[in-house]
Symmetry: C2
Subunit: 201 residues, 2 copies
């Protein structure tokens, strides 16, 4: 095959792909309040949620964030979100990861408090997007009644992102988009590399 043939084939291939994509874009004319789930053991679940929140804020939309499990390292996120403090409601619950508290009753109480914040947002359609960060973990430990959560998500008028490992199958069923973050390679913690500012927190 000479160079001209290669060019021609490339052009044909790209032309076909463009036709397919144009057709798909033209056919898509509906809007829908999306329920998006980021789950799996890999990195990037909360970060992708946080990035989408910033995208909405960039457009000037009002957003809500409920952090069900308080992480130790959130200073970078908070500093970035502070630039948009007139557009964001940010609520944190919990006392660190559950394995730091070792008190199931207290965890349940904290989860319920966080869920009450979430309910206020989910019943207020002025929120364009709501991030329920680590809700999956809380559901996995049965800290909240799954049926109540599913019912509230079913009735909402907002875009919603739910993050955390081990998403419940019932949640996946009602979701519009589910991405599993799969850990392919993560050797650096085992090599003694600590969490670094501006990257992991």
């Amino acid at each position: 095959m000479n160079e001209e043939d290669v060019k021609h084939i490339h052009k044909q291939k790209m032309q076909k792909r463009k036709e397919f994509q144009d057709k798909q874009v033209q056919a898509a004319d509906k809007t829908k309040k999306l329920l998006m789930v980021y789950t799996g053991t890999g990195k990037g679940k909360s970060t992708a949620g946080f990035g989408t929140i910033l995208r909405s804020l960039g457009h000037g939309y009002k957003v809500g964030v409920v952090q069900f499990i308080k992480g130790a390292w959130q200073t970078g996120e908070l500093a970035a979100l502070n630039r948009f403090d007139n557009l964001i409601r940010y609520e944190v619950a919990g006392e660190g990861f559950t394995w730091n508290t070792q008190d199931r009753e207290r965890d349940i109480k904290k989860a319920q408090e966080a869920w009450n914040f979430a309910l206020e947002m989910l019943t207020d359609d002025s929120y364009h997007l709501i991030l329920l960060d680590e809700l999956n973990i809380v559901l996995r430990y049965d800290y909240l009644p799954l049926e109540e959560v599913l019912a509230a998500l079913g009735k909402r008028q907002n875009h919603v992102i739910v993050t955390g490992r081990n998403a419940k199958p019932e949640l996946i069923v009602i979701a519009d988009l589910v991405t599993e973050m799969k850990l392919v390679k993560h050797p650096f913690r085992e090599q003694g590399v600590k969490a670094q500012e501006g990257i992991e927190f």
Copy 2:
């Protein structure tokens, strides 16, 4: 098992997990300039990269972004990044997705221009974090010499994130963290739902 037993078992389980985590955190005392790769066909690759950029910006670090494939929908990101314009260098290359141009030579030229921006950043250790968005796609189409890219990544003094489908195996070998975004469920486009502001762009 009565309620007290359940509580006791929960506490023991959480105690063990905490001990393991504490040990791991204590053992990790090194720092390393990380090469992070987000790949796979699922959603959230660029968004996770964008979220990490915002995390660095939140801490006041200087960051660089090179977008190898210009997307049509970037207004939300750009508006958010504009809040930090003194800390960010943002370069865009390309003329939309390759299947919109159908001109391999032009694509290669654009990729090389973008790579030159990337090289300037990768040889400047004042950048805390550099996002090479969709570099994987450019490498997949052989628009850039892989060896040159790997060599520059090997010599750099910055944290780097590379995104895009179909990461080259050679890149995965030298990466510190690889997450595959796996598409579990994504029915809404097929249902005719269009891309929505503040969510997908």
